[in-house]
Amino acid sequence: MPVNEENMAQAIPEAVVILPPSRLAKAFAVGFAICNIVLSIAYRDLYPFTIAPMFCDNPRLYCDYQVLDPQGGQLPLGDFQLQRNYDGNPLGLGAGVRPPPSLDMFGTVPDEAALIAHVAHALATRFPEHRYVDVVQTVIGPVNENRVGVIKELRVRVNADGT
């Protein structure tokens, strides 16, 4: 049979016209929009609703740490609870597991006494084989009107007895 206009499957059918949204559809759409606003502001982060809090903080300085054993080798910061948990988002927000404890809080600088007490405790409980460790705390903040950089470096030797 030859091809002709009648047997063409695509022979310009009528476009489908859809009805205006039903009351249920309207209620559903409005309800979802309200949920989106209310839940994101009330909980700040309740997946999938979020206030998108990345970089909402306002840090003026932060710390870098190094822990060195008596031979000068670097020890894992996590073992001394000095690791950085911060990734730009408020700590733990929107995550089901709390971050591991750490003295490092982005935007704050613990004083020397707090740092020594914290490291001494970790040293005594986790590294009894080391008599001491050297801790280097580097503080980064504004160095002048234009730049940020190292504004302070503290190097302390911490003995297991906390001295």
Partner: protein, 324 residues
Amino acid sequence: MGPEFRDEIHSNIKPYVGQFVLWALLLHEMVLLRWDLPQTEGLRSNPATVLSFLPVEVLTSPLLFQIFRWILVVTGILWSLQLLVPFSSWVCVFSYTATVAMIFENSYQISHTKNLANIVLFVHAMWYHFHASDIRRALASNTFWVSRIYPGWTYCLSLFCIAIYHSNAALAKILESGFHWPNGISLQLWIHLMGRENSLANTLLLSDRSTATMIQWAVLCVEASAIMAVFLPRFRVAIGVALLVLYIGIADSFGFSFLLNAFLVAAFYFPWTRIMERACEIAERHVKFNLIVARSSRLALLLGFVLPRFDVLRVTKLSIEEDR
């Protein structure tokens, strides 16, 4: 609510934007196939997701995670092919939410790269739910791509959710840090800590605080203005461009990829429907493929299924020849 926005809600359009976005998101969901459930130990922090009310045993079950992941793939394929809708749409959205939520429930660090996609998928499941019979009718009569079958409310609700997400980011900054947020120091510290080393922009921002401050003000203004684009369509393209520049800047400075979010901004802030309508007019005039197949052949069956769904430009003419 402006009159232009009210008109948009009530005027239905051809389904180019909706269906392309849907395909792109469903294709992207396959990325989740590569993910594993994190095995993070630590105290629980509640609530983190809409599934946080479930028992911990459920939220941490690797078996359930695998099940949701595979349901997501199967229903994603079904929905892409517009089969078993709206059942496949809802199961797909639910399994997407469950898969990502389980990852978040078992992590202590998260990124906001899937939230918008999840919300937009939900809105499109609503479209397939409330217009399932219209969509089936349009596919059966091969008029899906010429029918004004994409409701204005679906477009506007998706746009609203995308806009709220970005304006919320500005709100979060004001609520947390006040109007002192754009001070240049914080941006310089973030770049110092996690910025890309080979970025020219970073070199400039680290050397001049005034520029850093200016960029932070610009970020705040662009994010805050995202919601304006919903109610003032004439500014939509400009705000969309500004948001895309913001995403490019984030990728250049930090290497963070918010590809899905940027894609959704591009899809809903730019007038793709008009562009596609024009492309279809041109294609219809200049390109035509005439396929002649026998009525009882498998190819006829296959093309009868494929063309109504994927011949977006409607350039293929299928002619059925009676069997000899």
